[in-house]
């Protein structure tokens, strides 16, 4: 991405990422610099919301790694996403406890209702994206859904749809 074309907002984000990477004192000649990659990517995703190619390239450059190395790591770990998320991220837990309590039905119904599949694109209006998670450790509340960090437990299909509709109303 060329600097001239970059918006002020994007510039500020790259600057924020740079400030973090600066604290790592990366030494080009030390192979152990690689050890900071995942933490840097976490930070980058926290700043940008996702890890598009230009962000990966930036991290690669700052850590003196190849773009392929960074991309290989990003594509390996579920936590990293290269696509932007919707305004509301709906995470459906598909851990065992939730599964035996019927969370896959909840997921299927929400996918049907919003017309998008889990872990793909956000809805056309950009409002929702769905992810299937493996165990958030709230097994006591199974089945569990998380919307932007807020946990909803002991759900039924009907209850889950009601919650999504609430968010839809808020827009």
């Amino acid at each position: 991405m060329c600097c001239q074309q970059m918006s002020e907002a994007a510039k500020a984000k790259f600057a924020e990422l740079d400030r973090f990477i600066d604290t790592l004192n990366i030494d080009r000649k030390n192979e152990r610099r690689r050890g900071w990659l995942i933490r840097s990517l976490h930070r980058a995703q926290a700043i940008f919301g996702y890890l598009p190619r230009e962000v990966q390239q930036h991290v690669a450059k700052r850590l003196f790694l190849s773009e392929a190395q960074v991309s290989g790591v990003v594509s390996f770990y579920n936590y990293f996403t290269t696509k932007p998320k919707g305004k509301y991220c709906i995470d459906i837990c598909l851990g065992t406890a939730c599964y035996v309590k019927g969370s896959q039905n909840i997921l299927a119904e929400i996918e049907r209702m919003l017309g998008v599949k889990a872990d793909t694109e956000p809805t056309a209006d950009g409002l929702f994206s769905i992810s299937a998670l493996r165990c958030v450790g709230a097994c006591g509340l199974a089945p569990v859904m998380i919307v932007n960090g807020k946990v909803y437990g002991k759900l039924t299909v009907a209850k889950a749809i009601e919650i999504i509709n609430e968010y839809k109303k808020q827009g």
Binding site: R53, Q56, L65, S66, E67, A68, Q69, V70, S71, G72, S75, F76, T82
Partner: protein, 583 residues
């Protein structure tokens, strides 16, 4: 090294092997074959092995072990009892193979690697008659974005050999394990087209791919079309390293030069003129030698780096933008040939450059990329039209029913066919520098080296990095380095960054061992001793020649007299030199 020996039995036979051996090593010592796929010793002819132990085709049964052991990665232990062909091991191997085949396109007959595929070979050995597991298959669009290398991830079996050569040996870093689980493949960053990646097209990945997932982009059909087009005059040039590699495919002793047969074969294919890249290798030495002399005299822009190797040029353009002023500005022999053919020769025979088709036979994939560089074309007419690799040429011969073994020796055509022994050794690491030194000595001293002094043995051999002092004038030496393999090139360039005065001249070749191990050469099939033989073949060819100095090539002298004028002069600069751009 642990010299302790360990005793074990394999299939009831006792064997004693060094303590750091694997079961596979021990089995090989007993001549017991265990199939392998991902495992590759000395991959790319280097000291590095690809050993992810991931394909699991080499599993064997070890008594008192819970599960089967991958023989490639299981160290031997005293008293171990191994069974390589027990029912359990054989069944497991068959299942593994069936799984691999279930995620592989069943298009062997139309695959570029047909009959040269390790997976296909295993399927034949195992007597696979049906695809047992039907289910989802990975489907990717083949990537033919570059001029040189074609990748079809649908065929990838995740042996990781390409990833190992690209990262560990070449340190190019264009390839990575990508994604995970069922759809995991080896790909570029974000699976971008290879042409948009930092790939140097060295082609080492093509050489090691056991299946048809990575192959060269073929221009063979276009060459046939040109040969059969009456409006075109088609000339062919053939690189030094081709002549010591192609013979093995036609039953000759591996490494033996088959120059005469090659010339005869090319003529049999219907090329109008059969020329030699060796001719332009001599030309390169004239220009580059001159450049070395000038730079050393002026003590500027040193060390000078050779520029014959397009993979290496791509590498420096991608990775060392700060050093782009030091490579020699000389075009590679292939491109010098093209430039001269489309000017001097075209004029001479009265053919318009657009109607003169220049085909080069190269040991290399990157040459395809180089030939397509925009700076090597004038008014849309490329200096080199098509590049065909040694392997592809073999296929052309086979298609046309030309068997080199049945041909009488022939010679190259004039005026672009004459060459010195100095040109032959361009095909092996150290050769370009040696050839240059022979002529630089003459340029500086007005006389030739004599006797064995012309053989610069210090820069010979297949070691990845060689450093030496060479006498270019009595009593005056320069420090030189010769390296092959891009990982070694990176090391040497880091040295140059640290201490620009450490060397005055450096030869760099992208492929380990030089062009004899190029990305378009007949497969080594894991036998790195072949490189040794090819190297010997080239030095034999050099010694066999009456002419050992590039500057003594009569046709080169004539070229300057009739057409180019001064060595390093304006016209020569215009036609034979180039510049580099950071990528």
């Amino acid at each position: 090294m642990d010299s302790k020996m360990v005793n074990l039995t394999i299939n009831g036979k006792a064997v004693s092997v060094p303590a750091n051996s694997t079961i596979l090593d021990a089995a090989r010592a007993l001549n017991i074959k265990i199939p392998t796929l991902c495992h590759c010793d000395k991959i790319g002819g280097c000291g590095i092995s690809n050993n992810p132990a991931s394909c699991r085709i080499c599993v064997v049964e070890v008594e008192n072990r819970r599960n089967l052991a991958p023989s490639c990665a299981t160290p031997v232990m005293e008293g171990m009892k191994v069974h390589t062909n027990s029912r359990r091991a054989l069944n497991a191997r068959r299942t593994i193979l069936e799984l691999l085949l279930s995620d592989h396109p069943q298009t062997c007959m139309t695959c570029a690697k047909n009959q040269n595929c390790e997976l296909q070979e295993l399927a034949a050995e195992f007597g696979i008659e049906e695809i047992k597991y039907l289910g989802e298959r990975n489907r990717f669009k083949p990537d033919a974005s570059s001029e040189a290398i074609r990748r079809d991830l649908s065929k990838c079996i995740m042996c990781r050999r390409c990833e190992t050569v690209c990262n560990k040996i070449q340190t190019v870093g264009a390839l990575t394990g990508y994604g995970r689980g069922f759809s995991a493949k080896v790909g570029t960053a974000n699976l971008i087209p290879l042409a948009e990646s930092n790939c140097t097209f060295c082609g080492q990945c093509v050489n090691v791919c056991p299946v048809g997932a990575i192959t060269g982009i073929s221009y063979v059909k276009k060459v046939w079309d040109a040969i059969n087009d009456p409006a075109k005059t088609v000339v062919v040039q053939t690189a030094p390293a081709v002549r010591v590699a192609i013979g093995q495919e036609f039953g000759f002793e591996p490494g033996a030069p088959v120059t005469g047969k090659l010339a005869a074969g090319l003529r049999a294919l219907g090329f109008d003129k059969v020329f030699d890249t060796n001719f332009s290798a001599d030309l390169t030495i004239m220009e580059e030698g001159h450049e070395i002399v000038e730079r050393i005299k002026a003590n500027k822009k040193l060390p000078i780096l050779t520029s014959c190797c397009p993979g290496w040029i791509n590498f420096i353009e991608h990775n060392f933008p700060d050093l782009l002023h030091i490579p020699s500005s000389c075009k590679s022999p292939q491109q010098m040939f093209g430039a001269i053919a489309k000017s001097y020769y075209a004029e001479k025979i009265g053919v318009a450059p657009k109607d003169l088709v220049v085909v080069s036979i190269m040991p290399c994939q990157a040459k395809k990329y180089e030939a397509a560089r925009p700076e090597f074309a004038k008014d849309g007419v490329r200096d080199v039209d098509y590049v065909v690799t040694t392997r592809e040429l073999c296929k052309m011969f086979k298609e046309a029913g030309v068997n080199l073994a049945n041909l009488e020796d022939d010679v190259f055509d004039n005026p672009l066919g004459e060459s010195s022994g100095a040109a032959d050794i361009f095909g092996v690491t150290g050769g370009v520098l040696e050839a240059a030194c022979r002529s630089v000595y003459f340029m500086l001293n007005g006389k030739n080296l004599e006797g064995d002094a012309i053989n610069f043995r210090a820069v010979r051999g297949l070691d990845g990095i060689k450093e030496a002092s060479v006498e270019i004038t009595p009593g005056k030496s320069i420090r030189v380095a010769v390296c092959s393999g891009l990982g070694n090139a990176r090391k040497v360039l880091e040295m140059v960054r640290e201490d620009p005065n450490r060397f005055q001249a450096i030869e760099i070749m992208a492929c380990p061992g030089g062009c004899i191990n190029g990305g378009g050469q007949p497969f080594l099939h894991g036998d790195s001793a072949l490189l040794e033989k090819r190297m010997k073949g080239l030095y034999t060819e050099d010694e066999r020649k009456v002419l050992r100095f590039s500057h003594e090539n009569k046709d080169i002298q004539k070229l300057y007299a009739e057409f180019l004028g001064e060595v390093g002069g304006e016209k020569a600069h215009h036609l034979l030199h180039t510049e580099y751009h950071s990528k």
